[in-house]
């Protein structure tokens, strides 16, 4: 233990401002890096999911269209 009291620890032998500024800003930058990386990951997954849903809907719509057309043609043949 290099410090006699907690206030001595905070004072850092007169260099408290510079030491804590360094540690604070570093911690902040690392936290931003870490959490933005996780947020980025989630956003990409969400994007892919939405794209996927849109494509599924388009495919379903195309299938329905085809079915309707076929039925229509069948009716024409009958009449």
């Amino acid at each position: 233990m290099q410090f006699e009291s907690f206030s001595a620890f905070l004072a850092m032998g007169g260099y408290g401002f510079y030491v804590w500024l360094s540690y604070g800003v570093s911690a902040l930058l690392l936290a931003i890096l870490y959490f933005s990386s996780i947020a980025n990951n989630k956003a990409i997954k969400q994007q892919i999911k939405q794209k996927q849903k849109r494509e599924d809907k388009l495919r379903q719509a195309a299938q329905q269209q085809q079915q309707l057309q076929q039925e229509h043609e069948n009716n024409e043949v009958v009449s």
């Binding site: 850092m12 990386s37 997954k45």
Partner: protein, 254 residues
Amino acid sequence: MWKWLHPYANPEVTYHFTGKLIPWFNRLAFSFLAVGLIWALVFAPADYQQGDSFRIFYLHVPAASLSMGIYVGMAIAAFSSLVWQLKLADASSAAMAPVGAAFTAIALFTGAAWGKPMWGTWWIWDARLTSELILLFLYLGVIALHNAFEDKNLAGKAAGILTIVGVINIPIIKYSVEWWNTLHQGSTVSKMGKPSMSIEMLWPFMVTFIGFALFVAVVICIRFRTEILARNSMRPWVKNLVLEQKLDNPEEKY
């Protein structure tokens, strides 16, 4: 001879492999950083000349050497991507750029906050500080190029060329304190196996350094997996993975 490596060229295999690594890196990084930083702040002795301001050293030096190490890693990945067209190498170099930029910013900031009480100035335009600032701009340029094109492969090529050209800056940073007169002190840790540092300071430094390196591994793994997903969004395995989204499973959290 290299056959064991082949499966890892498959994005799906590598995605799941890095997913298993993250929790371990996470735990180790947290343990090393907790022990190392408490040791550095509370138990390490104050410097006989610099007093307690020396405690900034335990952030400044790991950040600065990692900022250069990550750049070299990024350049090797960019080179393999350009020469052998390895898609995963391109994804990994894109993953490394923001991490390197953050550590360069930390090295610059802690350097300034240490320089003010020791040298009497936040900043001077000498070789070491200026070349490290150029490193930050190189990182920002690489990030910007990766985001400048819709086509990821084209973006990777442009960013890769800038990365490789920028490697020239690394030896300039490393040897700037020997080649030019500067306020910045010379190397204390890596002096040909005989560090000019007391063992009581060297140990907390080593532990903190390993902790930061492991943290870098965690973040690079997370970003690498994001890049893999973005580049393979049309593959069936990505579609299944995203639709199932086993978010409760710790392995699939990131």
